[in-house]
């Protein structure tokens, strides 16, 4: 088991390294650098100004040197003003030591956000905390509802309940967040006026039922159908097993067979599916947070990508890739743990 986990962690590190290299390459393409410098200077800057800004802030150094600096394996040189010969920080809002230093991800330094004019860590971690709250509520509603639907549909295959619930769960998988968000806003905010169509106040004034229900509902709906279908399939398979028949023939009631014998075995497969939902939820987070103006991770990612905020975008991609890979690892370990028939070599 330990070798399995350590091998997986090794692959994870390699994947993260490759992915950040790709992201680093993409954000440092010439058009993107131009976009960044224009957003930092102003719209009417000449080509010479842009070039000078890029050289001054070290964007014209060798690609691998800069990647190494970001990573923290190559020393960052202080930015020396040629006129005075003194070291000045590249961006006034981020402190920088005056002597060469290692300051990268490995040292826990995420860099400097050019869009929000602060350290990346100051922006990224509060945003992650905000998204964590959203995720928590989404999971807290989505998982029980979808498991319930799946179990109800799967315990009597082919019954009317099964058909109705199956079609309903197919319908929810056909409504991505930007569709259900619009429909729910129209119904609950515009027509009925029960809920707030914006979650912007949730950041400052705290979560309330009034401002937070719509985002949670919108995100949960898309996931419910998929988990419910997987649970149903797993339940259907379990219900055809010999031990279920034995339990029935012993004279146990149907409900006790379902609860005591079927449920535990039927919930192994959905566990994996729920863990693997996280990558999907990440995309959902971006859509929902943009739609309902909630200042979380997704909102930060969109802002960073829209303005080519290099360090922030790299931080965002590092975090999201970490979440995706971590959930994959947990789902694999958990699956082996839950299912005694599977043993990891």
């Amino acid at each position: 088991m330990l070798t399995f986990i350590s091998r997986r962690l090794g692959t994870m590190l390699l994947t993260m390294l490759c992915l950040t290299l790709v992201v680093f390459f993409m954000v440092n393409l010439e058009p993107n650098l131009r976009k960044l410098s224009i957003s930092q200077l102003d719209m009417r800057s000449s080509d010479a100004d842009i070039e000078q800004w890029l050289v001054k802030n070290g964007y014209r150094q060798n690609f691998f040197v800069r990647y190494g600096q970001w990573l923290g394996v190559v020393q960052k040189q202080p930015n020396v003003d040629p006129a005075t010969g003194k070291a000045v920080p590249r961006f006034s809002y981020c402190n920088e030591p005056a002597e060469p230093y290692f300051g990268g991800i490995l040292q826990g330094n995420f860099g400097c956000s050019t869009k929000f004019k602060t350290l990346v860590a100051n922006k990224l971690f509060p945003a992650l905390a905000a998204t964590g709250k959203l995720m928590f509520w989404v999971m807290a509603t989505m998982v029980p509802i979808s498991l319930l639907i799946g179990i109800l549909a799967g315990m009597r295959e082919g019954s009317r309940t099964d058909r109705t619930l199956s079609v309903a769960s197919i319908a929810t998988t056909a409504t991505p967040e930007y569709v259900s968000g619009v429909i729910f806003t129209v119904i609950f905010a515009s027509w009925l006026g029960w809920l707030n169509g914006s979650a912007a106040s949730a950041t400052g004034q705290g979560l309330t039922f009034y401002n937070f229900t719509l985002p949670v509902m919108t995100m949960a709906v898309y996931g419910i159908g998929y988990i419910a279908r997987m649970t149903r399939a797993s339940m259907v398979e379990v219900m055809t097993q010999q031990y279920i028949r034995t339990a029935r023939l012993k004279g146990l009631s149907f409900s006790s067979v379902v609860i005591k014998h079927a449920l535990r075995n039927a919930l192994i497969a959905p566990f994996t599916v729920i863990m693997l939902q996280f990558p999907w939820l990440l995309t959902g987070v971006v859509i929902v947070e943009t739609m309902f103006r909630y200042q979380g991770f997704g909102f930060t990612l969109v802002e960073a990508a829209g303005n080519n905020d290099i360090d922030l975008l790299l931080g965002c991609s590092l975090v999201s890739v970490f979440i995706v890979l971590m959930t994959q690892l947990i789902s694999d370990i958990g699956y082996a743990y839950l299912n005694p028939r599977i043993r990891v070599q």
Binding site: C18, E30, P31, I170, A174, G181, P279
Partner: protein, 385 residues
């Protein structure tokens, strides 16, 4: 000057009336299919279940809507009639006496016509991108599953690399306007569009290796047709000027193929690993068939069931991805009538007007629902066999 309106009942009748070519085509196709369903194999079996009929009808509905878009839509999807700005559903346009069935949007364009024309964009890009993703996934998944070992490790690592990317981040990196100045989209397009050609060349070569008369004709045709489309799409240099694609559409196309082919790869790889242990594969190996013959002519046909189901689901998923791109204003032109862009425009103004938001959302939802129902019915049918 006031704008006159028609009632709700007249709107419903009017909309149903505008779709007349669709109803006609739908009646003909479904009638024929239903009549000959015994002879139509898997497709015919779909008509045995309610879910199947619903799925097929919805998919054909949008297919015919896309085909007859210019007949159905009363207005130009980009045309603006200033008086009709934010007009409510059922407003009569004073100039032509035509009706804005679902009202006008904030730029005074007809919401109904935009929805109809939007289907055209979605129904061209989504299935085509899915087809390319399938080609890439199959061509790489077959050897990975069949040979295993190092090829498998490398290809799986690459697939997991792409899958570990959150889709939205991938799109923000791949589909920005600036990236069209770099050779990246063209390079990726050149790589992806090569796969169908390689696939068909190998397919024909392995089968007709000993029958030169058929082989050369098929190989020649593949190279000719494939090369023609390839030159047209990647270099935009079709000598006949028929095949061409706007640069931003190429970019979207590439991004969508890039995002969805690893999924296909994983499915194909899994299927191949399962099927290669069967007896008929061992028999073919004993006969001394080449590995690629076994992969393409023994394993692939036996993996078709799950692949067809997956393709249906994947077209739906690609439609959702396209909508996501539109929603974030990536790639597609800002005035483009596709559903995602329309949803984005309308959702910003939900507080004041809700009518421009509903037609594109319902259109997108119903099309994806149709595909999902179709996939579900296909899965049921293939399980019966």
């Amino acid at each position: 000057m006031g704008i006159e309106y028609i009632g709700v009942f007249q709107i419903i009748v009017g909309v149903i009336g505008r779709f007349w070519p669709v109803w006609l085509a739908l009646a003909i196709v479904l009638g024929i299919s239903f009549f000959y369903k015994k002879k139509l194999g898997l497709y015919g079996q779909l008509f045995d279940s309610g879910v199947g009929i619903a799925g097929v009808s919805i998919c054909f509905f949008w297919l015919f809507t896309a085909i007859f878009a210019s007949t159905i839509a009363p207005f130009d999807p980009l045309g603006q009639v200033p008086v009709m700005k934010d007009a409510l559903p059922g407003a009569i346009e004073p100039g032509t006496q035509n009706i804005y069935f679902f009202g006008g949007d904030k730029l005074a364009r007809d919401v109904f016509s935009r929805m109809v024309f939007g289907s055209k964009i979605v129904l061209i890009i989504a299935p085509a991108a899915t087809a390319f993703a399938l080609m890439v996934g199959i061509t790489l998944g077959l050897p990975a599953g069949y040979y295993g070992g190092r090829i498998d490790s490398i290809l799986s690592f690459l697939a997991n690399l792409v899958l570990a990317f959150p889709v939205i981040l991938l799109f923000y990196l791949l589909v920005t306007p600036g990236i069209m100045d770099t050779p990246i989209p063209y390079g990726l397009a050149g790589l992806f569009f090569l796969f169908p050609i390689i696939f068909f060349l190998t397919l024909f070569y392995t089968r007709f290796k000993n029958r030169p008369d058929r082989l050369y004709v098929l190989l020649g045709l593949t190279i000719l047709l494939g090369g023609w489309v390839y030159i047209g799409l990647v270099f935009d240099a079709d000598p006949l000027g028929i095949v061409s694609i706007a640069p931003n559409q190429l970019n979207i196309f590439v991004a969508v193929v890039f995002a969805s082919s690893p999924g296909v790869f994983r499915i194909v790889r899994g299927l191949v690993m399962d099927i290669k242990t069967r007896d008929y594969v061992a028999a073919a190996q004993t006969r001394g068939e080449t590995p690629w013959y076994i992969m393409l002519w023994e394993i692939l046909p036996n993996a078709r069931g799950p692949l067809i189901v997956d393709a249906c689901l994947r077209i739906g998923y690609t439609t959702i991805l396209l909508g996501t791109l539109g929603y974030f204003g990536l790639g597609l032109a800002p005035e483009s009538p596709d559903w995602g862009t329309a949803i984005k425009d309308a959702s910003r103004l939900l507080r004041s007007f809700i009518h421009p938001a509903l037609p594109p959302t319902i259109a997108l939802m119903s099309f994806v629902l149709g595909l999902n129902l179709l996939a579900d019915a296909l899965r049921e049918q293939s399980m019966k066999d």
